[in-house]
């Protein structure tokens, strides 16, 4: 777990609940599918692991195209959670990930509390999952009121529905930055049984085509991601870390370089997940891991842990 850089040795390992991983770098949900395609570019066992695309109970076709629009230093997406449904996912995707020994966080998304409960039931007692990420913050739902993470009560209900069935696997609640008080939502999620938080999901945005003057995305609005949103992610992580000293935080939102990763760690993240940058640079998980190591050894650090929470006094 100690790696060698130009300037010295550094311990880049990451304590992920009971697991010790060689790197804090994960791929973010929806940005690496289930790992197969990316594994053509790198050995996914050398990074922290992958967070799979949020899977729903049933197969789902997702939204009509256009599903994306490039924005300044970012992009807007409205995929609409296209996917095979949990059963096919477990049978095919997770089996492949396990065969390849890739550490896997399974992301689940439900339309209702009951769906979250059913999804959790399917994952009960599995020993081949590193953690479950509960996506209660997907902006691409038909109705803003359906975003569980926009309200402490609904956030709590969704997490509780999952927790009911899950005892041994760590639960991460993935939260939305589009709230007045993120600490309140974090608190509700933790009280409902979340062992950690994934911060942040995309920001709700819109792009309008100036030939037709209609929204570009078929769904009207979509989720804004990429470097553009990084300062919001850093602020949210910092804010939540200041409120909860011990909670595990998986940070995401605009990571592009190793230096960005260190911003997140200093703000309070325990691990990182890379989204949009993977589209720009498919080998970025390895690059960012290495850039962090080089950056830290150049500053005479000997472990990543030394900078965690450093932005707090």
């Amino acid at each position: 777990m100690v790696m060698k850089t130009k300037s010295g040795l550094i311990d880049m390992s990451c304590n992920f609940f009971d697991a010790k991983l060689p790197s804090p770098v994960f791929t973010a949900s929806g940005c690496a599918a289930s790992g197969k395609e990316l594994s053509q570019f790198m050995d996914l066992t050398t990074i922290g692991g992958i967070v799979t695309k949020s899977v729903m109970l049933e197969a789902r076709a997702g939204r009509a195209t256009p599903r994306m629009s490039e924005t300044p230093s970012g992009m807007l997406n409205g995929i609409g959670l296209q996917g095979p449904g949990i059963d096919a996912f477990l049978e095919t995707d997770l089996t492949w990930l396990n065969e390849k020994k890739i550490a896997t966080v399974v992301s689940i998304a439900g339309n209702t509390v009951e769906e979250f409960s059913k999804l959790a039931f399917k994952l009960k007692n599995r020993s081949d999952i590193l953690a479950i990420e509960v996506n209660i913050s997907c902006p691409n739902v038909e109705n803003r009121n359906k975003v569980f993470a926009c309200n402490p009560v609904t956030a709590q209900e969704a997490i509780k529905a999952v927790k009911k069935h899950i005892s041994d696997i760590p639960l991460l609640a993935k939260l939305s930055p589009d709230v007045t008080d993120i600490v309140e939502i974090a608190d509700a999620s933790i009280k409902a049984g979340a062992n950690g938080l994934s911060l942040i999901n995309t920001l709700l945005g819109m792009v309008i085509d100036t030939k037709t003057f209609k929204p570009v995305l078929s769904g009207g609005t979509g989720g804004l991601s990429g470097p553009a949103i990084r300062p919001v992610a850093v602020r949210v992580i910092h804010q939540v870390r200041a409120a909860f000293e011990d909670i595990f935080i998986l940070g995401s939102g605009g990571l592009r370089t190793g230096s960005d990763g260190l911003e997140f760690i200093a703000a309070g993240a325990n691990a990182l997940s890379l989204g949009t940058i993977i589209f720009n640079d498919p080998t970025s998980p390895v690059r960012i891991h290495n850039e962090m190591a080089e950056h830290l050894t150049a500053l005479n650090k000997t472990s990543l842990a030394q900078v965690r929470n450093m932005a707090h006094d």
């Binding site: 053509q40 230093s73 992009m75 640079d281």
Partner: protein
């Protein structure tokens, strides 16, 4: 297997309305098959454009003074392609490829029509070579808005039996669309397979003609892509599978080449109600 390569620009020259861009490409040419594409990142870490741009591979050389190289035909469209068309010799650009499913190539020596709309002609020449090496007869139809936007006529003449030209403004060849001259050519050449690349309406119209003549149609589509490698699900279109079920299929990894009759052209941009998973929105 796709490869990520930090390429250097060998040359970037004007050809009609396009730029012909030659890049070092490392091992990419070794992996390349006709119909595949590469993606280019725009600028370095300070760029505000974070998505890669996709381009059909026009030529791919295994080895030469620069090692492997590829040629692309680039039309300036928005900010990203403007940046690409302004690349200068020795500039650096990050490429990923070869990507996507290549064109299917018939086992037998059949008669083929290759139809390119504008820069859509780019992937057809290496395809023509592959077909000819199988003993296939190859005819070309190259169409565009105007003569400036026609690409590859000379090379088509070198590789093709017949080469028909159409332009919408009549500045070269037949005034009109590629589909105006296709039926006659099929009859004359006894074509068995049509390969096409160009705008969606052209691909759709060609597929209709192919179906009417009961011959094969292979199309290379162009859908907006965020990743190009199959991980983001932005580039989907409704395609009927071998099992008869329509799925929203990624054009970057399960395409860009599709059997024409499998694509539900009329419903591109929608989720047809009978699509797999459409009931659970």
């Amino acid at each position: 297997m796709p490869i990520q390569h930090q390429a250097s620009v060998i040359s970037n020259t004007r050809t009609g309305a396009y730029q012909l861009l030659t890049l070092t490409a490392g091992e990419i040419p070794k992996e390349f098959k006709p119909g595949q594409f590469v993606t280019l990142a725009i600028d370095g870490l300070s760029s505000g454009l974070i998505l890669r741009r996709a381009f059909s591979i026009y030529q791919a050389q295994d080895r030469g003074v620069y090692g492997g190289t590829i040629d692309l035909v680039v039309a300036a469209h928005g900010e990203g392609t403007k940046w690409i068309t302004q690349l200068k010799r020795d500039d650096s650009v990050n490429i990923v490829g070869p990507l996507g499913k290549p064109f299917s190539i018939p086992k037998d020596a059949v008669s083929c029509v290759l139809i390119g709309g504008g820069y859509g002609a780019a992937p057809l020449f290496r395809l023509a070579e592959a077909l000819r090496s199988r003993g296939c007869r190859v005819d070309f139809i190259l169409g565009a808005q105007n003569s400036e936007k026609l690409f590859g006529i000379l090379e088509a003449r070198r590789l093709g039996h017949n080469v028909l030209i159409t332009t919408q403004d009549g500045s070269s060849g037949h005034q009109g669309l590629v589909t105006d001259v296709l039926p006659d050519l099929i009859a004359k050449a006894d074509s068995q397979v049509i390969y096409s690349c160009g705008p969606m309406p052209m691909l759709q119209a060609i597929t209709k003609i192919a179906q009417a003549h009961q011959i094969y149609s292979f199309t290379a589509v162009e859908e907006a892509m965020a990743c190009g490698i199959g991980v983001c699900m932005t580039c989907v279109l409704p395609v009927i599978g071998d099992d008869g079920v329509t799925r929203m299929v990624r054009s970057c990894v399960e395409g860009p080449t599709f059997k024409g009759e499998r694509v539900r052209w009329d419903e591109v941009g929608t989720i047809p109600p009978d699509t797999y998973g459409a009931g659970n929105q």
